[in-house]
């Protein structure tokens, strides 16, 4: 038993040889979702579907019908099968009903969002109306040894007989707290099981006809009696007999009783609604101590309950209740339908106190957790009066059955011990999932979007090592990762000495057009843009309202009322969002478009860049005089339109060529062909990062953090203090007036030193072990061009001066001393980008 429970609970060892299988998800949209295909669910589905609603019927069993598939509802034992046949046939053929069987609705979420698991798929159901007809769980009787094999619920025995054609025993005793025990006895008899006696805890049967029927069949009935102890066989493996005592009061029995041999005891003490989904939706479960009836109230709009979950147990009333729930749903959907009769059901199914504690114990309340009645009572005596605390102290309800059978006796015992009603005591919180679900159902077929540039296949053909850059894939370098350092240095040397090409299509692109375009750009970015000449580019920094640098790019003025602005790969969507948000307030006459994907781009950089470009672009004068540094031009390559930006991110003569994306591959091929004469090859983003580092150019988000203001980054030159406004202006003014605490500086280490990694911390002192952290390394790489390890780091304000040496704690706690140097590391006069 222990092993079986462990497996059911998901405990055990992970099977590392397991081969994952495909799981996925799918949405379903329905007017009405009916959870449970018992008589109430079937009736509700048919009523709703007949009125034109699009119905989804969900049931966890392979066979529709719920209790109709095993329960006996009449003396003759024919009603259930006939009704099931009739209802399921209609459901199966109804065009408006979709059936999901062997499927579990595992939770209820706001607005009837229902996860339904069937096989390897999780359906995410959106239902306008939801009817929960989930039925009821039969409850056990608490007496000594009630966990011996052979002691079962009546419904379990009936399932074995009806659904599986299994004769469960030779000689049975039925312990009844309601009339269903009598029906079980008849079913046992029909299947060849001798019924020794019906032990009825009540003083009399509520159905004289049923009582007569069992008497006629020769079954003796003992009223006002209970099984007080189950007696095991000598090998302790099965039931051998039951000890029956007269009931003398609530939970009390006579001192002596009779022993009745049997190998099966069927218990029919009552039912508890399958309330979990409803309580997840906020429903309140209440219990009338006098009538021992449950009720679920306070349901949210568009959620309904029907059938035995609603405390209705007579078959005709159950059908009626299902139709009534459907009618309510249809009314809310605006669909016409006949109003059913009000539901009346007086059948009492719950015996008020089926708990007979035994001085020797083993009177189990929770079979999963081996908890006896005294364990629950003792918890209350120790001060855990709240049922939630009783649960956590005793672990009641924490086993695989999750309180389906232990919740009610626990509530009764806690209520009794604390002088409260069961309603006041309540049950523990029901949370999804209803049954254990596999992680694969949640994780299966998760979508992980990625973006590729138009030149992606070209990069692969050229042996690129691709890395993610946000959602994009970019070439890090072209070569084997084992040779990474060597390849990067070769690519850098190529750009410094000849020419290289890099795909920069992932750069963000934004267009601002309209009469107020210049005013808009001027308000968004820190620099001055009102007087930016047409045909010129200008560096653009974006600060947020806290004065922190959050993005940068290049603004190209295409026309008086037309700007094309680049943004960082990872930041462009946020910049676009900010732009549209601000203009919702400013109401300037502009159109703002995110054109990131519309334009792909490459940068041809190096002393020979102009020569390469001049072989394919004939309608733009590329000379330094006509097309100087920071200028913007438009032209064509291979007959397709391009935008040309003369920029110097890597510190060499360079042209950023922006082209409509569907032309990207064509232009790449043309440029590669033109560059072959000059041995031009592509270089990757890691080489580009080193090239720009040598020039001391920052990368926003790599060299900045959530606190970086322009002063810390030495970007004062990019702030226009004369204009009245830009986003973050006030904060920038404030933070730059304050005493500065840190600064981003360039640093150098000898090539023999241990190279710091990005993220390594800068310390105030190399001598003191527990000294303050003053900053961190943001960029670090070995530069062949410089012949040293170089990088950028935040340092304390007292460490910022050129020549100052500061400690960096590297791997293994080692301290290396870096020296602050003047930026840039390379080509201080910027002469390289002015190559004639």
């Amino acid at each position: 038993m222990g092993t079986s429970y462990s497996k059911k609970a998901g405990l055990g060892f992970a099977d590392l040889t397991f081969t994952p299988i495909y799981h996925d998800k799918s949405y379903l949209f329905h007017d009405v979702a009916v959870i449970g295909a018992g008589p109430a669910g079937l009736a509700a589905s048919l009523k709703a579907a007949d009125a034109g609603a699009n119905v989804l019927l969900v049931d966890e069993n392979p066979m529709l019908g719920g209790a109709l598939t095993y329960h006996r509802f009449d003396v003759a034992g024919v009603r259930a099968a006939e009704l099931r046949e009739q209802l399921t046939a209609k459901v199966r053929h109804h065009k408006n009903i979709t059936v999901l069987n062997s499927a579990t609705c595992n939770g209820w979420f706001t607005d009837n969002y229902l996860p339904v698991i069937q096989g390897n798929r999780m359906y995410k159901v959106r239902a306008k109306q939801c009817i929960v007809a989930s039925g009821a769980f039969e409850q056990h009787v608490v007496f000594r040894n009630n966990d011996i094999p052979g002691v079962v619920m009546s419904s379990a025995a009936m399932r074995l007989m009806t659904q599986y054609a299994i004769k469960p025993a030779n000689k049975a005793v039925v312990l009844a707290g309601n009339d269903d025990g009598y029906l079980c006895a008849l079913e046992l008899l029909k299947n060849g099981v001798e019924v020794a006696v019906i032990v009825d805890m009540r003083s009399q049967s509520s159905d004289p006809l049923l009582h007569s029927a069992v008497i006629e069949k020769g079954i003796n009935v003992l009223f006002n009696s209970t099984v007080y102890e189950a007696l095991p066989s000598t090998d302790k493996k099965r039931l051998a007999a039951v000890q029956v005592h007269a009931i003398t009061g609530r939970g009390k029995v006579a001192a002596t009783g009779v022993t009745i041999p049997c190998d099966l005891l069927c218990m029919s003490a009552g039912y508890m609604p399958v309330y979990q989904l409803l309580c997840q939706a906020g429903a309140k479960l209440s219990y009338d101590d006098d009538s021992a009836r449950f009720a679920l109230t306070n349901l949210p709009k568009n959620l309904h309950v029907a059938g035995s979950a609603n405390g209705v147990h007579e078959l005709d009333a159950v059908i009626n209740d299902g139709e009534l729930a459907a009618y309510t749903s249809l009314t809310l959907l605006g669909l016409a339908s006949d109003e059913p009769q009000p539901v009346t059901c007086n059948k009492q199914t719950n015996f008020p106190w089926p708990i007979f504690s035994h001085p020797k114990g083993k009177d189990f309340v929770d079979f999963d957790e081996d908890l006896q009645s005294k364990d629950i009572v003792n918890a209350t005596r120790l001060g855990y009066r709240d049922v939630q605390l009783v649960k956590r102290f005793s672990t009641v309800g924490m086993g695989p059955s999750q309180g389906r059978h232990s919740a009610l006796p626990t509530a009764r015992l806690v209520a009794d011990a604390t002088n409260r009603t069961v309603t006041e005591t309540g049950v523990t919180t029901a949370r999804p999932p209803f049954v254990p679900e596999k992680l694969s159902h949640i994780a299966g077929r998760i979508f992980n979007p990625y973006k590729l540039t138009p030149m992606h296949q070209k990069h692969l053909e050229l042996g690129a090592h691709m890395i993610p850059a946000g959602i994009w894939q970019r070439p890090a370098y072209y070569g084997n990762p084992i040779d990474r350092d060597k390849v990067v240095q070769q690519e850098v040397e190529m750009v410094r000495n000849a020419v290289g090409i890099i795909d920069v299509s992932t750069l963000g692109g934004l267009e601002v057009r309209g009469p107020d375009a210049a005013e808009f750009v001027n308000r968004i970015y820190t620099f001055g843009f009102l007087k930016q000449p047409v045909g010129k580019t200008r560096y653009a920094i974006l600060t947020n309202e806290q004065g922190v640098v959050v993005d940068d790019g290049v603004s190209c003025r295409i026309g008086e009322d037309h700007f094309y602005i680049t943004a960082t790969t990872g930041g462009v969507d946020a910049v676009y969002r900010e732009m549209t948000k601000w203009n919702a307030q400013w109401r300037l006459s502009v159109d703002i478009a995110n054109v990131t994907s519309a334009f792909s781009a490459v940068n041809v950089a190096g002393p020979l860049a102009r020569k390469v470009l001049s072989k394919v672009c004939f309608d733009v004068d590329l000379s330094n005089e006509s097309f100087p540094y920071l200028a913007y031009r438009e032209g064509t390559i291979e007959g397709v339109p391009i935008r040309l930006l003369r920029v110097g991110f890597v510190g060499e003569l360079g042209y950023e060529i922006h082209m409509p994306s569907l032309f990207g591959a064509t232009i790449w091929d043309a440029l590669m062909a033109a560059g072959s004469e000059f041995n031009m090859k592509p270089f990757g983003v890691e080489s580009q990062r080193l090239l720009r580092l040598e020039k001391g150019h920052i990368i926003v988000s790599q060299d900045t953090d959530g606190m970086s203001h322009p002063g810390e980054l030495s970007l004062n030159w990019a702030i226009n203090r004369k204009k009245p406004f830009f986003i973050g202006r006030r904060s920038v003014d404030i933070v730059m007036e304050r005493q500065q605490t840190r600064k981003l500086v360039g640093f150098k280490l000898s090539s023999e030193s241990c190279r710091p990694k990005e993220g390594h911390i800068v310390l105030a002192s190399s001598d003191q072990k527990d000294c303050a952290i003053t900053g961190n390394v943001t960029s670090s790489e070995y530069s062949t061009t410089i012949g040293a390890n170089i990088g950028l780091a935040y340092v304390g304000i007292e460490q910022k001066e050129v020549g100052c040496k500061f400690p960096i704690r590297v791997d293994n706690g080692e301290i290396v001393m870096a020296e602050v140097v003047q930026l840039p590391f390379y080509d201080a006069n910027n002469s390289r980008q002015e190559v004639i």
């Binding site: 949209f29 990625y450 973006k451 045909g535 159109d591 994907s597």
Partner: protein
Amino acid sequence: MDFYNLSSAKSSRSSLLSLNKVDRSHSKLEVQDCTVYSRVGFRGVGAEAFLESNGLPIPKLPNQSLSYKNGLIILRLSKSEFWVVDTANKHHALIEALELSSKEAINVYRLYCQHSHGCFLITGDADLTVKMFSKVCSVDLSQGVFALGSIAQTSVARTNAIVTKQSMDGVVFTLLLADVASTQYLWEAIEDAASEFV
């Protein structure tokens, strides 16, 4: 600066899709990549009048599309945003002329949807199309809810997308427009979702 036409150089367009890894032979749903077919968008308070002056019919409400002339679909994405999409690869000249003529139009901003978006056309059994989409999209695209001409600006396989249902020669199809850089990803996601419908 010169105004240039992004609808030009049709023969130089290349889709970003690489089909080497995808086996499409088994599915009852056909997914066609129409990314290189012509399309153009316009936005601005003058866009509606501009299109009407060029003889194009306009959907009366946002998030509606209509079919015009053998596969030319006009989508109204908002009060003042319109896309003209050629799904039959027959209307390049019209679209190129339309884009050029917008140069002089007042309060009309052209949109570069030719290059910003990939374009898929999905045909096959209508119910299966709905079931396939229900695996990648949280919008109910079923017959009774998503009528011919409806537009959903939504997320498909976690990628921003525009979905519309239209017909040509009596054949109903679903048009899917999404970020061109996600073309390969989305194609594979759609293929995966469609693969069970054999």
